[in-house]
Symmetry: C2
Subunit: 195 residues, 2 copies
DNA sequence: TAGATCATGTAATTTGTTACATGATTCG
DNA sequence: CGAATCATGTAACAAATTACATGATCTA
């Protein structure tokens, strides 16, 4: 029950545990040692979030004690958890999530493999591209309409513009990469002009 | 008293009110209508933060009621507030703030005008450049050391790399812009090869 | 005068942070 | 044996979100 929307951390946990079941400690190590470092690896954030997801019926923990080592609580997605994840993955990028804590769009992309078809993924990237382009246009208008403003302030604003332009070129590249036929699978993967 | 470090929102308020005194409503409008939109414009965030700053003695509110219009509480920085702001502005960029909520470095830059000398500002940008470059190198090593990983996962990682590369080119540009002598002020400003 | 906008706040709830606590197991 | 690492948690606190409440002033 209870269809409250999950936090970005909870979605991150869902996506990670979907790819590979693991313990809170596993996740903490991942957050501490990979480019997912913008998530806190502190136990005070992770364990309560795992408990919330378990109480919500989205993940299930089972005690795993390979003789000798200390017991770990390993979490796996439930059917409802997988549903919640794919439902989230299908949401197009919105202005709101682009501007307020822009991590969600790329987090969704990175978990999409295996859940979205190539068509869906391209549609998703298109929604991403559209939102970034629209926002850039708006900021461009803002910049043009700024009254008497110092070069310093222009420079500061340019930082944001550059950041979004960078996103845009990545998106366009990603679309191009995904649009080429996937070098027709089976057997010798890793070949082909895949970027 | 109480030297707890301020939140990023509180620093944003400090920087904004330093540039131009104003009310909570003014700030809310600014957050809602400019590229500072990653800050929440909700009254439940802004008014409590202003109260905290006032209780900490960093800003002072006075009732401003220009006959006719409704009274507004206009805040100005106190001496201690200015000190707190400039102290913060002088902090070099750290890995921690770059990775966890990367807004602080550029926020500091955008408030630095009038508080830091050109030399200090260049030093600050240099610390920014150094941190971004170091982090990029680390992510690059991570990317190179990833085992069997799908093209999709490479693509996702590239998003972050692009974002930091974008920051880096902005920083280098900004340094170059600031390094040229400031077209020697007085009188006809707005001229000169300033970018 | 009715509705929009100006303007300030509060209350309930949720979330995250920091710091602490605890105990098992491995390694030097 | 002692230190480091594995592993899971809790408690106190601070902060943000959403939603609500309130009233003044302006405009159609």
């Amino acid at each position: 029950m209870s269809d409250r929307t999950l936090t970005i951390l909870e979605y991150a946990l869902l996506g990670l545990l979907d790819r590979r079941p693991g313990s809170g400690y596993d996740v903490a190590r991942l957050f501490a040692s990979t480019p997912m470092a913008h998530f806190s690896s502190s136990p005070g954030a992770i364990y309560p979030a795992l408990l919330r997801l378990e109480r919500a019926g989205l993940i299930a923990g089972r005690l795993d004690s390979p003789t000798g080592t200390r017991a770990r609580r390993v979490y796996t997605l439930t059917e409802r958890g997988r549903t919640a994840l794919t439902t989230w993955l299908r949401q197009p990028v919105t202005r709101q999530e682009l501007v307020r804590d822009g991590r969600a769009p790329i987090l969704r992309f990175s978990f999409a493999e295996g859940h979205l078809s190539r068509g869906e993924l391209l549609g998703y990237l298109e929604s991403f591209r559209r939102e970034v382009a629209a926002y850039l246009e708006e900021v461009g208008r803002f910049r043009a309409g700024m009254g008497n403003v110092t070069p310093h302030q222009h420079l500061a604003l340019d930082h944001g513009i550059r950041a979004y332009e960078g996103q845009l070129t990545w998106i366009v590249d990603a679309i191009r990469t995904l649009e080429q036929p996937p070098a027709s699978s089976m057997g010798s993967e890793g070949e082909g002009p895949c970027r």
